[in-house]
Symmetry: C2
Subunit: 246 residues, 2 copies
Amino acid sequence: MRPQRPAPAEATHGVTLWRRIADDLEQAIALGTHAAGDRLPGEVEIATHFGVNRHTVRRALAELAERGLVRTERGSGTYVERSRLTYPIGARTRFSENVGSAGRDPGGRLIGHGREPATPDTAQQLGLEVGDMVVRLEILRSADRVPICATTSWLPAARAADAARVFRARRSITATLAHFGIKDYRRQSTRITAAAADALDAERLHLVPGRAVLIVDSVNVTMTGTPILTSRARFAADRVELLVES
Amino acid sequence: MRPQRPAPAEATHGVTLWRRIADDLEQAIALGTHAAGDRLPGEVEIATHFGVNRHTVRRALAELAERGLVRTERGSGTYVERSRLTYPIGARTRFSENVGSAGRDPGGRLIGHGREPATPDTAQQLGLEVGDMVVRLEILRSADRVPICATTSWLPAARAADAARVFRARRSITATLAHFGIKDYRRQSTRITAAAADALDAERLHLVPGRAVLIVDSVNVTMTGTPILTSRARFAADRVELLVES
DNA sequence: TTTTATTTGTCCGTATGTATA
DNA sequence: GTATACATACGGACAAATAAA
């Protein structure tokens, strides 16, 4: 960041001081001058650097905090938040590919599984009868060892009986489906809503109860259009941003 | 719902009692036997109806409550939740059309506006220089008089100087853009994340602070690809579900 | 405003079947 | 096979919130 003195009104284009400082800090963060996790200089230090009052800096930092770029910790300092993982949603949505192409290390761990009768909505999504058996997989997914989402997936038991065992070996949904003869599949629809994290989310995703989770329901079909997998993922909203391109 | 006695193991397909009751209630809600807003029978009444213990019914209701189908109010009863407004996200996303085709009455009210210099990210999205002037519109949108989202939109001031005045007359973004010669436009990208509602969200969207809000950033371009409008919408997550089809 | 009945929330306990180690 | 842990189901009692008299 470069020092700036409050300039005459016409030179500032009517830009408020705090906004200019916020913009400067935003640029500095975007350019990597302050990396993720870094502690910014103290408020007084920033204030003297720009030649303004500390309260003006506080207003700027409040703006950045509200937008999620920084996080202020009372008695400690202001820290640059890790930028959200951009997670593209589309017909070819694959977790590992998404995380990998963001330059992060994808991980997936089976934390539970079961065999159960389809509930009405699961049955409808998979084109089954209510009560037909389905296999449920609970997978905790991460990027760079940081938990990203907890996914519950359902597959027709008739087509993928021991999906849990296969997933544990292959460590990928795509590879698991391939094992059952599904060479390719596509995401048919995605429904997105959000809720406050409950105790289970907090434990699995390692976040404070009450923080937001994105709830993403998807239906995946084979290339011939047969429903093969439906899932409900709960994302730590702090850490991801879903991207829909059209 | 039809009464059911706990049956021998082989007849239940291994389905637990509470799950079967939950499924039955879910069906009854889906079929409209219990409409949105209706109060379900009391726990004891449901229990005697199914011939089970009250705790078993409670387990079933807890399942439905967790999935957002019902809401229990201590001392009062259990109520069927209004189903979420399905909001399609795509190239042709238009608020009024989305709400209207869901059979609800769309509303939009300008609650604020301003003229300000573009911040770095707004400038980048609109293809402007940092500091170029933009017009900001704050719009509160509703369906059937229930607030759905608060949207902040930015347009290049050079192309849409008095957008606020036009919007107030036309009451639609599409009509406002048409006034400035933009006959058609499409949504280029949508970024979705979530957060807990702050005091401003709570007031505008009429919800309790801490409930989840979906934050939807979009960039809209003319049919020739020129960025014309960027917006950030904050949806009451309780009341909507975003739908992405691919 | 106060009382009373209704309804959900929480806690205690008991018994049984089913996975898991 | 045995022991252990867990989920399911039932029964009862009381507290707390609500709604109606």
